[in-house]
């Protein structure tokens, strides 16, 4: 289907089902129950899941296929966001031109930086991209404030021109982002018993874009171009002596992944029209590296998983405070309760960085293939057991 083989089609369908039913899947616990803390099915976080998924998918096209480790990809996301917000400020609140512009501008920016950085490889390439991104961040935070609004981040105001729209709505507010009138923030609520599920227009736009981006990345992975990129990673010398020019291949991969980052940035600004300079900081670039590796670099679905994982941590784990902990463990005797809270305390709430760092090290050390490898190992283990019990069990290919 869609020009994909069966395995890829199955994966695309799985991703489609997961994203389209995310409001259900991410809200497994009834509202108001103690476990509701772990629900992630609210619009902002769901949007972040898919937006960072797109970012990581794009990053993976560069890193996973060619092996070039860019430490400056956040710069493209930032540039995309700034472009989109400027579009909202100057043209209209429609997200389509904003997203198109952000993809185009970050593509150009990536072309420029990639052209220079790709003259080197290995760690030199990493340092070059890092240097460019840090320059962008430092300048955006300070001297470029007229364009970026520096520390605060670029945001909409009541006196923006918006030539195809209105500067302010009738009741004196800043208009909201929309897709031809369909407001991004509109949320449809569905209440089933004690559960409440939220269906947000913005989320579904992001989800559809994610599916398109994911589909495109499958096509790229399975195309001759994708094969060439893997060949670049494998042996550049052989590439050169096989009559293939590696430069345009790596540059094309760099620009494509830069455009993915710009797309993510544009979507982010469309969901929440503010572009902060921190989006471009090297630690933000590091974050997408972490996502990709955590999920499994070079695999199709890994980066999406990694992105979801890290964003879940950032948004859910960081909100668990001691009060919440005490509530959870209230059933225990007092002394034990305090002890358990004391033990768990450093790892949750403000300690979420620590937990993330530990998990990350564990993954790099024990699961170089990331969560996908973990899944495959479990799959194999289960299969092995099954085969023991029942030799006729159907073989299931683990999701790549």
């Amino acid at each position: 289907m869609f020009g994909l083989d069966n395995k890829d089609t199955r994966m695309l369908i799985i991703v489609a089902v997961l994203t389209l039913f995310a409001p259900f899947i991410l809200n497994p616990f009834p509202t108001g129950s103690a476990m509701a803390q772990f629900n992630a099915g609210y619009p902002d976080l769901m949007q972040r899941f898919v937006i960072f998924g797109i970012f990581a998918i794009g990053f993976n096209i560069l890193f996973g296929l060619t092996g070039y480790l860019s430490f400056g990809h956040a710069a493209f996301l930032g540039v995309g966001s700034y472009s989109a917000v400027w579009m909202f400020k100057l043209l209209s609140m429609n997200v389509v031109p904003a997203i198109l512009l952000s993809v185009a501008i970050s593509g150009l920016f990536a072309l420029l930086i990639g052209f220079v950085s790709l003259r080197r490889s290995g760690i030199y390439f990493s340092i070059l991209t890092l240097a460019f991104a840090q320059m962008s961040f430092n300048l955006a935070y300070s001297v470029l404030t007229p364009i970026t609004n520096g520390e605060t981040g670029l945001q909409l105001t009541l006196d923006d021109p918006r030539i195809l729209g209105v500067s302010a709505t009738a009741d004196g507010s800043i208009p909201v982002t929309s897709l031809f009138g369909l407001e991004m923030r509109s949320t449809f609520e569905m209440v089933v018993g004690p559960w409440a599920f939220q269906f947000n227009v913005g989320y579904y736009l992001c989800a559809l874009v994610l599916l398109a981006a994911f589909y495109l990345s499958i096509r790229i992975f399975r195309s001759p171009f994708g094969m060439m990129l893997r060949a670049v990673k494998s042996n550049q010398q052989r590439m050169n002596y096989t009559g293939l020019n590696t430069k345009p291949y790596t540059l094309a991969a760099f620009v494509i992944s830069g455009m993915y980052a710009g797309l993510a940035g544009g979507l982010m600004a469309s969901m929440d029209p503010l572009a902060g300079a921190e989006r471009m900081q090297w630690t933000a670039s590091g974050e997408v590296v972490l996502m990709t590796i955590l999920g499994g670099a070079g695999t199709l679905i890994g980066p999406v998983l990694g992105a979801g994982f890290i964003k879940y941590f950032e948004n859910i784990f960081s909100k668990i405070n001691d009060t919440v902990l005490h509530n959870w463990f209230a059933f225990m005797p007092d002394g034990l309760e305090d002890f358990v809270v004391f033990i768990v305390h450093p790892f949750i709430g403000k300690g979420w960085h620590l937990t993330l760092g530990i998990m990350f090290m564990l993954v790099v050390v024990f699961l170089p293939g990331g969560l996908v490898e973990g899944g495959q190992r479990i799959g194999k283990w289960v299969k092995g057991r099954k085969n023991k019990d029942d030799s006729t069990s159907a073989t299931k290919t683990p999701a790549e």
Binding site: Y42, T152, G153, Q155, E183, T187, F188, S318, H353
Partner: protein, 448 residues
């Protein structure tokens, strides 16, 4: 097709009506149930405390959280009531807000505008918070204030000192209790004049981002009005850790006053470096060289240790104040946590009380009603003397403290001493002052 932008609490009620079991999908209309975002319909109301828990301001964030917990305890009738007893408005009864128990959720801003907005959004969308408060930097405060305006909830700013928060970036749904760069300058100028005279040459080192610029502008304007000459204004990168290369040129610049428009880690390092270079012992033009840190923070001063001795600056509040409100607050905070509160803790405690009081007076959680109740509200007993929440820009006008690093501290908390309490009248500026020009409050947004 109907929509509701940020309403969850309202939904719950409908959900309950629909009953358990397999209910029909309830598509919800804004007009029928909720008049505003996150209308608390149950027996409790949720507030969102959004403070930096990771990153360089994590300690200030932690102190803010302590104050928030204390405020919630007091609002719900626990503890000794703290400043609720000294507050001039007597609406709060210790039975929650409007009889609803106060609950709270916390989040991590990471001192990044993006992360702060994400955190605030989750509080609004997921936890049903009806008010967001907190923050320890202006960039974050402005970003979250913008978000709250769009979402239709009230934002009670925490520690934010930039003129822009209630200047060009002011919002109808946002309120600031903390003072700002202009007020620092207005409070400091007369003191500086008394101490150092009118014939001075000032050298500014300024953190190169919006807050630094507005403060530099304010201080330069105020000191130039005294007759001081501004020798040089040098911008320093936010990421700088060693300021020696910026301090070194001061030595031979002919300046006799160094103004450090830095905050947080920048302030600690630039001050430490300045003292290292012997600036405090230096004599220029026959006058003792002086250093001024316009925005002081005790938590940060601790990092600079003995280097703060004798150096002047301004602060929003200090625990050594002897008025009834301050004493009550220090007592309940100190008893609970074992050390005195910081100015960040104080301002967020006040903000929580002010919000709760405004809701009680308005009789509604509706943001527009709260805005109306807060606008032009005059109060006393919260540690800063008589205070006005000005309607035009949602800025509090109150006394500003000029403080000095103490020469002989008696304890690790006793780092600053209050030199002067500059009365509110002296730091008040017209709402259309050029330094605050360029934005509009807009109208209050109840969301939904």
């Amino acid at each position: 097709m109907s929509k509701s932008d940020f309403s969850r609490r309202g939904v719950l009620k409908t959900g309950a009506l629909a009953g358990t079991g397999l209910a029909l999908p309830t598509i919800f209309t804004a007009s029928s149930a909720a008049a505003f975002t996150n209308d608390p319909t149950g027996s409790s109301v949720t507030l969102g405390f959004n403070v930096p828990q990771t990153g360089p301001y994590a300690d200030e964030g932690a102190d803010e959280l302590r104050a928030y917990r204390l405020a919630v305890e007091h609002l719900n009738g626990g503890g000794d009531g703290g400043m609720m007893n000294t507050f001039s408005s007597k609406e709060l009864q210790g039975n929650g807000i409007l009889g609803k128990e106060v609950k709270f959720v916390t989040g991590d801003t990471q001192t990044k505008s993006d992360a702060a907005r994400a955190s605030a959004k989750s509080m609004i969308e997921k936890d049903g918070a009806v008010m967001i408060t907190g923050g320890s930097s202006s960039g974050v405060a402005i970003a979250v204030q913008g978000l709250c305006q769009e979402a239709g909830v009230i934002f009670m700013a925490g520690l934010t000192h930039s003129n822009d928060t209630t200047g060009k970036d002011k919002k109808a749904n946002g309120f600031r209790h903390f003072f700002n760069g202009y007020m620092s300058a207005a409070a400091l100028a007369p003191v500086l004049k008394n101490l150092y005279g009118t014939d001075r040459n000032a050298y500014h080192l300024t953190a190169d981002y919006t807050w630094g610029w507005t403060q530099e502008e304010s201080i330069a304007a105020a000191t130039e009005a005294l007759g001081w000459n501004t020798v040089e204004k040098v911008r320093t990168p936010l990421a700088a850790t060693d300021f020696s290369s910026y301090i070194a040129p001061v030595l031979n610049s002919g300046a006799d006053v160094l103004v450090l428009n830095h905050y947080g880690g920048n302030m600690v390092n630039s001050l430490t470096n300045a003292v290292q270079f012997g600036l405090r012992e230096k004599v220029v033009n026959g006058k003792n060289f002086e250093i001024v840190v316009p925005l002081y923070s005790r938590l940060m001063a601790k990092g600079a240790g003995a280097n703060v001795k004798g150096i002047h600056g301004s602060t929003n509040w200090h625990w050594s104040l002897q008025d009834e409100g301050s004493q009550a607050f220090v007592r309940s905070f100190g008893t609970k946590y074992g050390f005195p509160p910081s100015q960040a803790a104080h301002t967020v405690y006040c903000q929580t009380m002010l919000y709760a009081d405004a809701v009680s007076r308005a009789g509604s959680f509706n943001p527009c009603a709260v805005v109306e109740a807060l606008e032009g509200f005059e109060f006393d007993g919260l540690g800063n003397g008589k205070t006005l929440y000005r309607a035009e820009d949602h800025q509090c006008f109150k006394d500003v403290l000029v403080v000095r690093g103490k020469e002989n501290p008696t304890s690790e908390f006793d780092l600053l001493e209050v030199v002067e309490v500059t009365p509110a009248a002296q730091v008040t500026y017209p709402a259309d002052h050029p330094m605050f020009a360029g934005g509009a409050l807009g109208s209050c947004n109840p969301g939904a």
